[in-house]
């Protein structure tokens, strides 16, 4: 390689000389020197095919090894009944999703993922019944790291009294406001002192999944294109590659925006459909709050944004199509008018160290760190005086500080 220091001392002009002028000719010549034989017409395509086959095989092998122990929850510990899912009483299952570790799910005699007894609340215990869908259920998170278990321990420590956070949440559409409203009798039968409802964006706007959108987009496409899409997205290899790519916050957000763009929806301005959904949500909230109030049980609601919306807090300029505060603000208005206590977790979420790192790569669920952070926020909120029974016990607090 020529060194310009030594060249350029001849004269200053030399330093600006373009050393690569003959590059194209050399490049061409390097290929041109070699003769193409008749055999090459067979060998070269074979080499190309072999290279692609090795690549395909390599990716498939890695993803197979990576996902060698996939296990699925539905059908074993969770069964569908009508439009909602139910936990199977006294069942224990393990699941390993594409993007989680092997997680054990243990359901009690009422089919809830909690160690607490559903039939009899122990004497002196302050019971919070946690309702909602996958995030409060602790989907993809080991039991000891879930919001319910962490919050039980944190509140008991902080308030100096025994607090149980009974996890009555279940993933899927079971956590939709309408289903929660329908299940209020069951919830009240758990003898709550307080109902804590952690709402996901998906519960309110159950937008289509990536898979559904892709299926619709591929309707009528040539079979080969559909096969290719499926090969690269729906296979283990597809999940493996997407899991790696989606670790990038910006890339994930771009993919998310593309998805909501495909759905012709935006998170910046509500459309008529969303207005209607919010109207229905407010009716369900009224049902839930009224039913709880009838038994003197307060309802605390927290809204948890999904990963893309949370990511948008830290992106500048903010991605067009996402208005991260909109849904939170709308819910705040709806809930305040219905007598629920709104726990606004968004301001504290914004302060999180590495907010993006609190979600799984596919963005729908909090990971263990996310559950820990949400626990901290809700612990502070619930003990701040909004729920008198959970006000901080000064003595317990000082003992805790001393410890």
């Amino acid at each position: 390689m020529p060194d310009t220091f030594s060249q350029s001392e001849r004269d200053a002009d030399r330093a600006l000389s373009v050393g690569g002028e003959t590059h194209a000719a050399e490049y061409e010549e390097s290929g041109g020197r070699r003769k193409t034989s008749a055999l090459d017409w067979i060998v070269l395509p074979l080499i190309s095919a072999a290279t692609i086959a090795i690549f395909c095989g390599g990716i498939r092998l890695i993803s197979y090894l990576e996902f060698a122990h996939l296990k699925w929850l539905p059908g074993r510990c969770i069964v569908q009944s009508g439009s909602v899912l139910h936990g199977v009483p006294n069942s224990v299952c393990t699941e390993r999703n594409y993007y989680s570790q092997l997680v054990e799910y243990r359901f009690n005699s009422c089919g809830d993922r909690t160690p607490f007894d559903c039939r009899q609340k122990p004497e002196g215990v302050y019971r919070i019944v946690l309702i909602g869908s996958s995030n409060p259920m602790g989907y993809e998170v080991p039991a000891e790291s879930t919001l319910s278990e962490r919050l039980s321990a944190a509140l008991s420590r902080r308030t100096g009294r025994r607090v149980e956070v009974y996890n009555a949440s279940l993933n899927g559409s079971s956590g939709a406001p309408s289903n929660l409203a329908n299940r209020m009798s069951r919830t009240m039968a758990l003898q709550p002192d307080l109902i804590l409802w952690v709402m996901n964006a998906w519960d309110i706007n159950p937008d289509k999944s990536e898979d559904q959108i892709r299926d619709e987009a591929l309707q009528g496409s040539p079979r080969i294109l559909r096969a290719l899409r499926l090969l690269f997205t729906e296979t283990r290899a597809g999940y493996w590659m997407r899991e790696i790519l989606y670790r990038s916050q910006s890339l994930y957000t771009a993919a998310y925006l593309k998805r909501i763009q495909n759905e012709a929806q935006t998170h910046a301005t509500p459309n008529d459909e969303e207005h209607e959904r919010m109207r229905l949500v407010s009716l369900d909230v009224r049902t839930i709050v009224d039913r709880a109030k009838a038994d003197g049980v307060p309802v605390v609601v927290a809204f948890l944004p999904d990963r893309a919306v949370a990511d948008a807090f830290s992106m500048s300029p903010r991605p067009a199509g996402i208005e991260p505060d909109r849904l939170n603000n709308e819910l705040h208005t709806v809930l305040a008018g219905k007598g629920a206590i709104f726990a606004d977790v968004v301001p504290d979420l914004r302060k999180a160290l590495n907010l993006d790192g609190l979600y799984d790569p596919f963005g729908a669920h909090l990971n263990a760190e996310g559950h820990a952070f949400l626990t901290q926020i809700l612990e502070n909120f619930l003990t701040s005086g909004v729920v008198p029974a959970l006000s901080v016990n000064e003595q317990a607090q000082s003992e805790r500080i001393q410890q």
Binding site: T4, H23, S248, Q249
Partner: protein, 480 residues
């Protein structure tokens, strides 16, 4: 249609044009195909013919000047050059001109900078063309608007363009050459649509992590990534597109000049600009640096002043490179840094020769450790100057304030050391691999090896394009 980037559509369009062009070897046919392909290309970029009026006016000013120069009208050259420069500055809306003087309706400016360089080149050279045939309006438009070089260059000389485009016997295009061009298109497509895209997302992640709450260790790592990613992204984005257009033009039997020559192998700032955006450097060498140096040397004839005049001319030339990139104060500062880097490099060289003598300096310059450190330093300097290339003052201030001065010092030290080591290892591995030879040459550049990596890159590009499901990323150099 997304035609102003290295999209799949653009590649297909170029290949279709090349196929048509090769239906006949006649130069008339090839010129008709190139003209038609260029007109359709422009129409695909902007459907409204009214948007092209200012560009047409600019081209007309250029051709008017050329016409008068070719007819030997005195002072036509100076006046037309000045006219073209003023028209360019006005159309590009440089902020030192009153805003009220600008056209306020939208008009087409894609590729204007590259057209500007070609027009100026013609105006400057046309006085010296001697017995060579005059440049007609058809050839002028074909040269200035050629769709393969319109959006981001490279800046080709007219004589080189005419030599291939208007040759009675077009340059040969055998199966081996076609294979090489296909391989190059795949490589370029991968660089722009996969590598550059992923690097751009990674840079955005790094900026977010640097400027938002994050554990200190992660912040330092984010700063490190922010620094090192952008130069590599810019290289992949620009050189990938250039790979594609050079290959497409070659398939149309026109050889475009190379624009890159492994720039990160450069062991100094001066060496770097011999390898990065080479056609621009060459243009400025011919039309700014050389004339300026000659003028100054005539004015200050003292032998001792020569090297320092060179330093000054370096500064001016590379300051202009910075200013060419944009109209804001950030780009002026980028120009100051680029020109400053060149000047300091030259002064360092002069000082070393003075201290060590020519022989001592040559020995030092050939020392592998010195070369490796030079590469690391050059990469770090380029990465530093690029902050003013991609970020505004507010972003730079936010990024700078995210770490303490001592932490930044640590980050830059880590960048320098990493670049030094990684580039040295890269060069060694490359040299080692190229040393594995058969009687036909290095195995690495054999047609078998080329088929392997073209297939691998092509396959990876397909898979990742489907997975990423994003539009082809914009070309950074399209904006200039």
């Amino acid at each position: 249609m997304n035609m102003d980037t290295a999209s799949f559509q653009f590649v297909l369009y170029g290949l279709a044009a090349a196929l048509l062009s090769n239906l006949s070897r006649s130069r008339l046919w090839r010129s008709i195909v190139l003209s038609a392909a260029t007109v359709v290309f422009l129409a695909l970029l902007d459907r409204n013919p009214l948007h092209f009026i200012p560009l047409a006016g600019f081209l007309l000013v250029g051709y008017g000047g050329l016409f008068l120069i070719q007819r030997g009208l005195p002072k036509a050259q100076v006046l037309s050059i000045l006219g073209v420069i003023v028209a360019y500055i006005w159309l590009k809306k440089y902020s030192f001109l009153p805003a009220a003087s600008f056209l306020h309706s939208f008009y087409f400016t894609i590729g204007l900078s590259y057209i500007f360089f070609r027009v100026l080149h013609l105006l400057i050279e046309s006085g010296d063309r001697g017995e060579e045939p005059r440049v007609g309006i058809g050839a002028y438009l074909l040269y200035t608007l050629n769709f393969t070089t319109l959006v981001s260059g490279p800046i080709q000389r007219y004589d080189e363009f005419a030599r291939d485009q208007f040759a009675e016997q077009p340059i040969p295009l055998g199966i081996r050459v076609v294979g090489l061009q296909i391989e190059r298109i795949i490589r370029g497509f991968f660089k722009v649509n996969v590598l550059a895209m992923i690097l751009n997302f990674a840079r955005e992640d790094a900026y977010i992590q640097l400027t938002h709450p994050m554990p200190p260790g992660l912040k330092l790592y984010a700063a490190f990534r922010l620094v090192i990613i952008y130069p590599i992204f810019l290289y992949a984005n620009f050189s990938g597109y250039i790979d594609i257009v050079i290959a497409l033009a070659r398939l149309m039997r026109v050889r475009l000049p190379e624009n890159f020559d492994r720039p990160f192998s450069a062991s100094s700032v001066m060496d770097f600009w011999n390898r990065w955006h080479m056609t621009l450097s060459n243009w400025l060498k011919n039309y700014v640096y050389n004339p300026l140096l000659l003028t100054l040397m005539r004015r200050f004839s003292s032998p001792g002043a020569g090297p320092f005049l060179g330093v000054f001319c370096f500064f001016v030339t590379f300051f202009l490179i910075g200013v060419w990139h944009g109209r804001t104060s950030e780009f002026i500062f980028f120009g100051v840094l680029t020109g400053g880097g060149m000047s300091i490099n030259k002064l360092w060289q002069i000082w070393l020769v003075k201290v060590l003598g020519r022989k001592g300096y040559k020995t030092l310059a050939a020392n592998p450790v010195y070369i490796a450190a030079g590469r690391g330093l050059n990469f770090s300097w380029f990465a530093f100057t690029l902050f003013w290339f991609w970020a505004g003052w507010a972003q730079i201030k936010t990024a700078a304030g995210s770490l303490s001065p001592l932490q930044w010092l640590g980050v830059w030290a880590a960048v320098f050391l990493s670049a030094t080591v990684v580039l040295a290892v890269w060069e060694s591995v490359r040299a080692l691999l190229l040393s594995i030879r058969t009687s036909e040459g290095p195995v690495l550049t054999s047609r078998y090896a080329r088929v392997v990596y073209a297939s691998a890159l092509g396959f990876a590009a397909c898979v990742l394009t489907i997975l990423l499901n994003q539009p082809a990323p914009g070309l950074v150099y399209k904006a200039f």
